[in-house]
């Protein structure tokens, strides 16, 4: 009986997820477009967390954001303000938003505005700052703040104009193409970034900015393979958001980490978070760094795996197989393993190496607990100290207890409704 109900609910959820039409509409200012934001709000990655519990990179990013917003002049002031209780911290996920790594969003940051055309819901994400010392890895030096200002003052307005000239961009199609060009949509975004430039370049040229500024913008995007990540993520977010709160569904709609905890949300369990300690990423470290330097898993980018790409599409990205054991077959086996815990095969995201089989999509908590197979997540590794930046990339798994706790809550819910 109950099984049929669950299956029906999951079927509905999967329909919503598969039918999602994430579309890039515009660029706006966080405070103006994101609901529930004000000057003193800081959004962050992962499940809710207090200032005291935040890990190095997240604290660093908060400090940087407060300086960027002009609420503090230096680290000391920012730290005091951050701990004062005046700032309200809230997960991006509570505001239809996602952010990579620290995922910090503050009032005056420009954000991409996306809409799921099929279900009319919106999602938001900041513009990718590039590599090296950047806010999302907890850096807050002058150059970081300067770059953020440059994004606010040039990059965002220019791209906004270009987008207006171009019109909305269908991101689902673009992601699909990127998967067929060797991206998996999380740790490799080279193809996606290239596609985006190709699409926008003619319109960037037509904007009313100076030659020099246009060159600056194009060079900036070109220098950063992960530029597209900040579009993949909100695309996945608005896809998954449409599928939340479906009674009786055991499909995971959110996975996210704040550097201290890993949290998941399940469609049939509303807005509840189920959390466990964030894991240490098992991966390749950049030369000169050791495992000691790595911060526990952080960022909202795991929304990619939640929606069926990233680690789940590993077989699509032979170029980065060194993260998973070295051979293309290892990558294929890794994707195949994910079919064991998912509810459907994607109708649009296809993997060439698997004869264009759809990516494993829609994590079912029942399957995770029953098989003991945890979602396999591709991710970057942040240095545990604020301001150092990325030190590597690799694979990480959520803590099993998130899924076990969610399953228990799910059954308890049914018990209060006298359904089991």
């Amino acid at each position: 009986m109950i099984q049929e109900r669950i299956e029906a609910a999951n079927k509905k959820v999967m329909e919503i997820i598969l039918n999602g039409q994430p579309t890039l509409l515009d660029i706006g200012i966080a405070e103006e477009v994101i609901l529930g934001m004000n000057k003193k709000t800081i959004l962050h990655a992962g499940p809710p967390i207090k200032w005291e519990k935040m890990s190095g990179p997240l604290k660093g990013a908060v400090i940087g954001a407060l300086i960027y917003e002009g609420l503090a002049v230096d680290e000391k002031e920012a730290t005091e303000l951050a701990a004062s209780g005046e700032i309200s911290y809230d997960p991006c996920h509570h505001h239809n938003t996602v952010g990579p790594m620290a995922g910090v969003v503050s009032a005056s940051m420009p954000v991409w505005i996306l809409q799921n055309k099929k279900y009319a819901n919106y999602s938001y994400c900041t513009l990718n700052e590039g590599l090296g010392k950047v806010l999302r890895y907890g850096a807050y030096s002058d150059e970081v703040i300067k770059r953020l200002k440059w994004i606010e003052n040039l990059l965002a307005p220019l791209l906004k104009q270009a987008l207006k000239l171009h019109g909305p961009i269908d991101l689902k199609t673009m992601i699909t193409q990127a998967l067929q060009m060797g991206d998996e949509g999380h740790n490799r975004n080279r193809a996606g970034t290239s596609l985006l430039i190709r699409e926008l370049a003619p319109y960037i040229i037509q904007t009313k900015f100076s030659e020099k500024e246009k060159i600056e913008v194009l060079k900036f995007i070109d220098s950063n393979d992960h530029f597209f990540l900040n579009l993949t993520m909100p695309a996945c977010k608005c896809t998954m958001d449409a599928a939340k709160n479906i009674e009786f569904s055991t499909i995971v709609t959110v996975m996210a980490r704040n550097g201290t905890e890993f949290g998941i949300r399940v469609s049939g369990l509303g807005d509840r978070w189920f959390t466990g300690p964030a894991g240490i990423v098992d991966g390749l470290l950049f030369p000169g760094y050791t495992a000691e330097d790595a911060n526990p898993d952080i960022g909202d980018s795991v929304i990619a795996e939640t929606a069926g790409i990233g680690g789940f599409a590993m077989a699509a990205a032979p170029a980065i197989v060194q993260f998973v054991g070295g051979t293309a077959k290892d990558a294929v086996n890794l994707t195949l393993k994910m079919y064991e815990i998912t509810a459907a095969e994607n109708n649009i995201f296809k993997i060439p190496a698997l004869d264009f089989r759809g990516t494993p999509t829609g994590i079912d908590i029942r399957k995770v607990v029953e098989t003991g197979i945890l979602p396999s997540i591709n991710t970057g590794i942040a240095h545990k100290d604020p301001g150092v930046g990325q030190v590597g990339a690799g694979l990480v798994k959520p803590p099993m207890n998130c899924f076990e706790d969610a399953l228990q809550a799910f059954v308890e819910d049914l018990e209060t409704k006298n359904l089991v």
Partner: protein, 300 residues
Amino acid sequence: MLLTKSIASDLIDTLTSKTIDGIVHSVFDHACNIQLDRNRLVTLISPKLPNYPSAIKLDITEDQKLCSIGFKTGMKSVINKDEIKMPEVCISIKLTGARVWDSSPLFLRSNISEEMLNENIEKIRDLTLKCGEIEGVASILDGNTIDNNYKNFVINSVKRLAKGISDLDYKEITEASKRLIGLGPGLTPAADDFLLGILASLYYMGYYFGNNLENLKKIAGFIIYDLPGRTTFISEIMLRNGMKARFSEPIRDLMLAVIHNTSVQDKCINLLNIGGTSGSDCAAGIVFGGVLMAKVKILK
């Protein structure tokens, strides 16, 4: 050709320009033991493992398994200070240019309080019971709730060992450790890991309390007095190194954290994460040795 990340300092004496022969003794996913003779061993490890005495860390990725590189038990190897060769499978490991990892003990004076020290030891006890694998000898840390074969078997010997050390009764020490060496599953039997933990506490805590290192060494010597033939070859080498106060990186780090009151929790978790029950059994030894040394302080 494979490159080397680091090489343990104690191997510098072993490996000279003279070429010697060795036999691959055992191969695991992340370690490969090469036996040189009855008393000497070289261990090749993947970067996934911490540094330890007699180990050479290869410059490969963490996911790469040593068995997949081609090492096989019984294979001949030819070793000198520049290179390890395995002619049967055409493997050559270049040793030149590797960083030297200093495996010798790090005794530094500390002036933290004794209470702090005891607290740190208790912290290790709690963590081991909470996060460790206490199916082996580590179960003796727990009062009565766990009942397993090892616990019942070792408890008396452990008590005797404690008494032996506090009374400086060398005969009792030797007799008691004889009842522990080689007990338990694994390549390094659980009780051996436990003894290694005791040795670590003996040295580092003993040094904190101002004991003469020669005295500590003497006790360590009696603890492993009856070693030959009682345990596996690998474990024998491990305990011999422990007798010389040479410990693996996680053990040394934890002992330093205890003595200098730094990140005991992190270092302890690192130790507990080591292969199977080994880390936990060793942590149990550290707790046991730590409590004992805190009581005895200065050995007569």
